[in-house]
């Protein structure tokens, strides 16, 4: 057995040999545990098939002005609303200073397609689906959507205006294939 009084020199400093061995083994052991833990932790993340950014084509030609539809994309509801002129005006004329998560309406729609608002229909508070898609639904104080779970109100650009929701409804990646069809994802 090595003598406990042995020392070792690292970068000009002297350490007891035993300390060096103990800290070295513990450190290496900890690194090993972390390396082995990672596959277990990562196995819980969404799997490759879930992750595959499935794209979805939607024909929007049948949605009348003032109406909205909900489609599923990646297991999430996506709201597609055909906004009226007054909806758009309201959204564009809201001063940014009144917003919790300041974003202009133009940042949330595609140029030339201002009548189409496409957002992920998941309340940014705790994930409920806000009401306002169907004609009889409450639309909240700002004529957009209302989340019944804890009372969040969204405006005609689906921006958070009142209640606990901290952020605007997310805009998913999408593009117009032509004037009638969009592709989400």
């Amino acid at each position: 057995m090595a003598d406990a009084d042995d020392t070792i020199e690292i970068l000009g400093l002297t350490y007891p040999r035993r300390d060096f061995l103990i800290y070295g083994s513990v450190g290496l052991g900890a690194a090993g545990v972390a390396l082995v833990a990672w596959p277990f932790i990562d196995s819980m993340n969404p799997a490759a098939d879930q992750r595959a950014l499935a794209t979805k084509k939607v024909d929007i030609s049948a949605i009348e002005e003032g109406q909205a539809i909900t489609v599923m994309w990646q297991g999430k509801p996506v709201f597609i609303r055909h906004r009226t002129a007054s909806d758009i005006e309201e959204a564009e004329n809201t001063p940014l200073s009144q917003l919790k998560d300041p974003q202009t309406d133009a940042e949330r729609v595609k140029p030339g397609h201002e009548q189409w608002l496409i957002v992920v229909g998941i309340c940014t508070h705790l994930g409920c689906i806000p009401l306002g898609q169907k004609p009889g639904d409450p639309k909240g104080d700002f004529n957009g959507w209302f989340c019944p779970c804890h009372g969040s109100h969204y405006d005609t650009s689906a921006r958070a205006r009142k209640g606990p929701a901290p952020r605007n409804l997310a805009v998913p990646p999408y593009e117009f294939l032509d004037d009638q069809t969009i592709q989400i994802g």
């Binding site: 932790i41 819980m44 993340n45 969404p46 799997a47 879930q50 909900t70 599923m72 990646q74 297991g75 999430k76 509801p77 998941i122 508070h125 705790l126 994930g127 409920c128 689906i129 019944p148 779970c149 804890h150 009372g151 209640g163 606990p164 929701a165 901290p166």
Partner: protein, 407 residues
């Protein structure tokens, strides 16, 4: 305290075994001659009753798991099949459903007992911390169990509660997707919740043994809150507590049976008999009754992160109880002002529970804020001030003294 001398086992097989694994001596020491304060009352029976509830949950759960299917397309129907077709399936499920409520009733009373009689004070801090940890695990277990039947309240409860994680700045979104194993509550979520719902109660059972280990090291407290001073203050566990506990457990089982057999859906939500619909949030999401006070506190502030932190704090604060209530007098019975504060606190917890079931609108929001302030004030203002200014009543000299002097 007298030291323990193990008995000589006369039966030669018992003796042979005990020499190799002293399990019989261990049971003798901890279940037969174990000294208990002679004055402990029925509030001290809620611990053993909680243990019985845990056994009921483990047993019924394991049998339910033989039929339950953790697949989003089949889960709801598999539970309905348990209810309609499986022999006594209705009984297993109603025992398990109502057993969760029973478990929380018993554990909450057990904890209020501890808060009143100062059971968290030295030398019982570690015992108390293990208890709070068990409460945490119970909350998670019950939450995940409620998701399994995949009713609409299961689905939306799971969505709202897991989304609490998104309040954490930066890592919130990746964290919640890691918990879900998907981009929303979905098949991987249900599957892993079933795995954890099976695992956690086993960890709870293990911690319950550690809880007992700590208890038997420091011994039970008692309603007078004074230490055991000698054999005159104690009685052996058997037959006194074995009989008393069995009597109490019978009463608890009668109470439990009323709900299981005559009102099995008393604690249930009608929306959970509707299959999960990822496109339709129920108009009013309410958690099970035992989460309501915490759910109310979640909604006390108009900030997502703030609400989540407050809710966590409302449970975490229990861990530091030994440092908040530093009065050397353990028992509330000798603290005239504390008694008032304590019962106001209990009423406030019940009020928060009621508020948690109301819609998120006025006047409830304001009432929730007031009740939340009272909740935290009890811990951080009232208790420290009481320790400073309260003059406790005189304590008796020993546990046996009031009894022997009255005789």
């Amino acid at each position: 305290m007298s030291t323990y001398t193990p008995p000589q086992w006369n039966n030669k097989y018992v003796s042979w075994f005990d020499k190799r694994l002293p399990a019989i001596t261990l049971m003798h020491k901890h279940l037969i001659v174990y000294p208990t304060p002679r004055n402990i009352n029925y509030w001290w029976c809620f611990g053993v009753a909680s243990a019985m509830a845990l056994v009921i949950m483990l047993l019924t759960g394991i049998f339910l798991a033989m039929y339950y299917v953790a697949d989003t397309r089949l889960a709801f129907d598999s539970v309905e099949r348990i209810m309609r077709d499986v022999n006594y399936g209705w009984l297993l499920r109603y025992l398990h459903m109502n057993g969760a409520s029973l478990f929380f009733i018993l554990v909450y009373i057990h904890m209020f007992r501890g808060l009143y009689f100062g059971s968290f004070k030295a030398p019982r801090e570690v015992l108390w911390w293990i208890g709070v940890t068990i409460l945490f695990l119970m909350i998670m277990t019950a939450f995940m169990g409620y998701v399994l039947p995949w009713g609409n309240m299961s689905f939306w409860g799971a969505t709202v509660i897991t989304s609490l994680a998104t309040a954490i700045p930066g890592i919130g979104q990746p964290l919640v997707e890691w918990i879900w194993g998907a981009h929303s509550v979905d098949q991987p979520t249900l599957n892993r919740f079933f795995a954890w719902h099976y695992l956690f109660p086993i960890i709870i059972a293990a911690l319950a043994f550690v809880h007992m280990w700590a208890l038997h090291e420091v011994k039970s407290g008692n309603p007078l809150g004074i230490d055991i001073k000698g054999p005159r203050d104690t009685i052996p566990f058997h037959p006194y507590h074995t009989v008393k506990d069995l009597y109490f457990l019978t009463i608890v089982l009668i109470f439990f049976s009323y709900f299981v057999f005559f009102s099995p859906n008393f604690f249930a939500e009608a929306d959970n008999y509707v299959p999960a619909n990822p496109l339709l949030t129920p108009p009013h999401i309410v958690p099970e009754w035992y989460f309501l006070p915490f759910y109310a506190i979640l909604r006390a502030v108009d900030s997502k992160l703030g609400g989540v932190l407050l809710m966590l704090a409302s449970i975490l604060v229990l861990y530091i109880m030994p440092y908040l209530d530093r009065s050397p007098v353990r028992s509330g019975s000798f603290r005239p002002l504390f008694r008032w504060a304590f019962w106001i606190f209990v009423a406030d917890c019940l009020f928060l529970g009621w508020l948690g079931a109301q819609l998120a609108e006025e006047p409830y929001i304001t009432l929730i804020r007031i009740a939340t302030v009272i909740y935290f004030a009890y811990f951080f203002v009232v208790l420290p001030l009481l320790n400073k200014y309260e003059k406790p009543d005189p304590l008796p000299d020993s546990i046996s003294e009031p009894v022997t002097s009255r005789a």
